[in-house]
Symmetry: C2
Subunit: 495 residues, 2 copies
């Protein structure tokens, strides 16, 4: 008979990893050869889970007990003190598929489904998860595979049905600090009269996502019922998509992409389109900023992605229009949730000090979306969008959305600031998107929404010795001090 | 001022991963945005380490404290209650190199060194580690890169100097159950009079490594001093190499390869050659078994590896002779530490019931090694080796080595056995190396050294309905029961 062990919730949050804790020298570990990092299978009468083992000493877990991390305890669904047995797990079939992919073979939809189900039932440790993510990077997925993976990601999550024939959406592949067009496009479209229930993401590797920026003004944690109410009344909402369990495998995949700062083209297409489809979108304008330090660096790369977005979109029933925009520098001047939100408000209010590039780009994207919907004649979209913005109606619409999402929150900029001063006279020839984003992140964005960077100088600007290039906002004086030494990295100046 | 936290060893063994434990809701986590799986940097006056954060509740760690896993505590080198500060870690430069490799670029030696140093200073979590391993799989490393990585692995570990001009060695790339030629080759070479201080590995994904098999007879945890003593007296030892910290990064890399069942060609070459060089070997015979279910499946693959082994060997100063052998089925009949050791003893004793294939292969490899040393004329090696074996001197030499390594241990086979019976008359046309190895592993090998499989029928043998195909040995009756249903998978019979 296999030995019975009593389970105990030790109270450790390991995020998505099932970790089990057993005392060093316990009988079953000796007889079964289990040790730190061993993969074990834990069986109850109802359910089995896989877990990675950590060994404990000092009585943290008693002999005859097995401690479980929060997620493992929750997945097993038993009470403290219930009994389980252990075994060596069968090898996971789906890791074979990962090896096949690494060996250059194609995977079919069934194999992707097996992998995704294993991920969602927490059978993967970070090791298997990383191997899968890496196996899919750098053009290793064909268009057919991207489509298969997209469908699998949709089918394994929740889906929203708005009961509407037309649901508009916009998305940017990212990589450009300050690129907060969503908060301007949405009220324009809504004011025009078309439904755009926007779900946005938080920052993954950037200083702010649209959800982070919107959150400085209003509540973004909306239920589907609340979103539907808003869409009925105002045609729009701007919510955080993460609460909806759309394409949930994506969030787990992102958790390993983040520390690697890795973006996989195929997974990006699958991730974006699956979330859009699950969110019920029917028409999508997809913004690909192109620039030497943007996520997409050449028209050639953009063309390949455009094809994937359009064809996979068609396969899953979304009409996708891909547009290319200038990705050579940040959009607007503020970077970080609070600073970006202030820029958005300036554009909506038609403040003459508002960033012209953010305004123009928003009008362009709104125009494209209006034309894609078929409700505005081709070539007329931009004009219509500009009119709505200039009329002040987009601002009013936005303020109503904010109000119905529990806003308008009042927030001040961060306490400590540091101005990076230019050492020479010259002209700004390039701005490194990632490096300036990193400064904003090191200053505390997005976890401190008031932290960030405000750019005084942008491309083509003449700067003079002793003048300010940009200002850093931070809540922590010491972090700010460290940052003040970094500025030479950021702007390349020519005399 | 950043807040001070008191460190506490919570007594959790996480193997090579630095894990830190902090209470949910602690001030610093809120202000810094730290959560489960956040990467943090822990600073003391002397030293900084990187760690991955797990959040705790139920008072496991108190407010104002930070708990550390055993390895993290050890790496920091402080006492319980000492104070540290936390910060967001700088992004690891070397993960950029991993992305470059994933993007198809070559890495130079300096970049490999940066990566390996980050691994050895425990700055990588399993996520970064897996990404590096996967980035190097499936022919993604050039010969130049394999050489660079090999040198880096040698330079970052301990090295043994035997003070001898000639140090012989043999190695098999593995994948073949029962392939225990080392324990026969070593006493032949030693009896001939040449030094062969053998360091062997334990099983990684197999039912037994040479060190596991030898350990059923003698102690294999030898210090360098003990090994030197044995080499002086007997020209040879058969020790576990893992205790010597040769190419230590290899063991960490292997810990992520194992759950993926992944073998990277380039890393295999670097791993083997770096350990041999660090172990002071000058002449190496390298056995590549080729077969449909062996690690190397075609002569084409073997030719590519041969070139890598020979050229990288030359670069680091080892004369390598690569030989191809039959990898179509296990060597001998016993699989698992105890059963293999018994086969070795039979061959050394010239027992007529001993496995002829193990004997012939051992004589062949010993002959090649004698010729490679330059001390035996080309074409004469096999004859000389056979003579030494037949004379009984190799057996005597082996017994002296065992004795000086604290043997001869007495061990019995496992308690429970199950014979897999043939259902039809036929001839054995193929044996699946990995599947039969898996049976032995599921039976408990190598953690239970007495568990394993004994093959009654091998390739070409006629088997009759009702006759035994193989016998499974296990310590656990229930595991044996589960196994008894698997046998149909193993042998493909033709009528």
């Amino acid at each position: 008979m296999p030995s019975l062990l009593k389970i105990r919730k030790v109270g450790i949050d390991t995020y998505h990893e099932n970790i089990a804790y057993m005392p060093i020298g316990c009988e079953i570990c000796k007889s079964q050869g289990f040790g730190a990092l061993s993969k074990i299978e834990i069986h109850s009468a109802k359910k089995s889970i896989l877990a990675t083992l950590n060994m404990t000493e000092n009585g943290l877990v008693q002999m005859g007990e097995i401690g479980l991390s929060n997620i493992a305890f929750e997945r097993l669904g038993l009470a403290d003190g219930n009994e389980v047995t252990l075994s060596h797990p069968d090898p996971l079939l789906s890791t074979l598929f990962i090896r096949q992919k690494l060996d250059g073979f194609s995977l079919n939809k069934e194999k992707f489904l097996t992998i995704v189900k294993d991920i969602l039932s927490y059978r993967y440790s970070n090791i298997e998860l990383t191997a899968f993510v890496v196996a899919c990077t750098h053009q290793r997925l064909s268009e057919r595979e991207i489509g298969d993976l997209t469908e699998v990601m949709i089918e394994t999550g929740e889906r929203v049905d708005w009961g509407l024939p037309l649901v508009l959406d916009k998305h940017s592949v990212g990589g450009l600090p300050g690129n907060r067009t969503t908060m301007i496009v949405v009220p324009i479209i809504a004011e025009f009269g078309l439904p755009i229930p926007k779900t946005s993401s938080r920052a993954i590797t950037s200083p702010s996502g649209t959800a982070d920026t919107m959150e400085t003004l209003a509540n973004v944690r909306l239920s589907v019922a609340e979103m539907k109410q808003l869409v009925t009344e105002e045609n729009a909402c701007i919510a955080w998509g993460g609460a909806l369990a759309l394409a949930p495998v994506d969030d787990i995949i992102i958790s390993v992409e983040r520390p690697l700062n890795l973006d996989s083209e195929g997974q990006m297409v699958a991730s974006i389109l699956s979330k859009k489809r699950a969110a019920g979108s029917t028409h999508l304008v997809l913004d690909i900023p192109i620039g030497p330090t943007a996520k997409v660096r050449s028209v050639k790369d953009a063309n390949r992605m455009k094809k994937y977005f359009e064809n996979v979109g068609k396969r899953i029933g979304i009409k996708v229009r891909v547009v290319y925009t200038d990705g050579s520098q940040p959009v607007g001047r503020g970077i970080g949730p609070y600073l970006e939100a202030q820029e958005v408000l300036k554009v909506l209010k038609e403040d003459p000090l508002g960033p012209a590039d953010l305004r123009d780009k928003s009008i362009f994207l709104a125009g494209e979306l209006l034309e894609l919907s078929g409700k505005v004649r081709k070539g007329k979209g931009k004009e219509v969008a500009a009119q709505i913005l200039h009329s002040g109606k987009a601002y009013e619409k936005f303020m109503r959305i904010v109000e119905k999402q529990g806003g308008m929150k009042e927030l001040a900029p961060a306490r400590y600031t540091y101005e990076v001063i230019n050492l020479i006279d010259g002209e700004v020839r390039s701005i490194h998107n990632q490096k300036i984003a990193q400064v904003a992140k090191l200053a505390g964005a997005p976890h401190d929404p008031r932290a960030g960077v405000y750019l005084y100088a942008k491309l083509g600007d003449r700067v003079q010795q002793g003048g300010a290039l940009f200002r850093i906002y931070a809540e922590n004086e010491e972090e700010l001090q460290l940052l003040s030494n970094m500025f030479r990295l950021i702007l390349t100046l020519c005399r």
